[in-house]
Symmetry: C2
Subunit: 125 residues, 2 copies
């Protein structure tokens, strides 16, 4: 698909919805809150793990935990428009945000977000 | 030097002294004590860093610190006979062990160990 033919009412890349500035602002707020909460949880867990360290193997367990969580969070919190529907759907599935946090998004986007959350629910079952 | 010619009283590889079983036992005790002390220090520092974390950047600072220290310790504590003189010399230079911890090693080995510590002292000056 090197030269996609764009038409007036369809975006050249399928599955890549356009996010308006105001929609992005709504998404950004929910996204940042979920990320902040997740980082807070990692901080609390790291403090707990560190406080319980008695031998060096537990020290490297802490390092491993931090590396894994950093990579996972980097992968998960991707704000690019092309990924945003799935990212918000995953956060919804993980209960890191609720539908009320996305109030103001058009129903069409909410549908896609809910649909991805539902897909993850089924995959996990 | 693919086919070194060993003679009765010289080891085929220069700079690779032979460590007898009893010398290795002395070295091992000093080595393990220094390693244990260094790991203890890293554990204390990690606990302190973790207890002071307030934001996520400090969380990844802790991860980075642990990764660096692990790699450094892995490199430094190498018990192979071919490396042991330099390893003990470095620990002597860093005051992680004293000459008294190596009591029982032959003077010839002590000389090499002291000499490497001295070399590091000069390099750092």
């Amino acid at each position: 698909m090197t030269s996609p033919s764009a038409t007036q009412d369809s975006y050249p890349y399928q599955h890549e919805p356009i996010w308006s500035r105001s929609e992005k602002a709504i998404a950004r707020q929910a996204f940042d809150a979920a990320l902040g909460q997740e980082l807070h949880e990692v901080i609390q867990e790291a403090k707990k793990m560190a406080s319980q360290i008695q031998q060096s193997s537990e020290l490297w367990d802490l390092e491993h935990y931090l590396t894994q969580r950093r990579k996972e969070i980097d992968r998960k919190y991707d704000f690019r428009g092309s990924r945003l529907t799935d990212v918000l759907g995953r956060l919804l599935y993980e209960n890191r945000l609720g539908e009320e946090d996305l109030r103001g998004l058009p129903e069409e986007k909410m549908k896609s977000i809910r649909s991805f959350a539902q897909f993850l629910r089924h995959s996990a079952a």
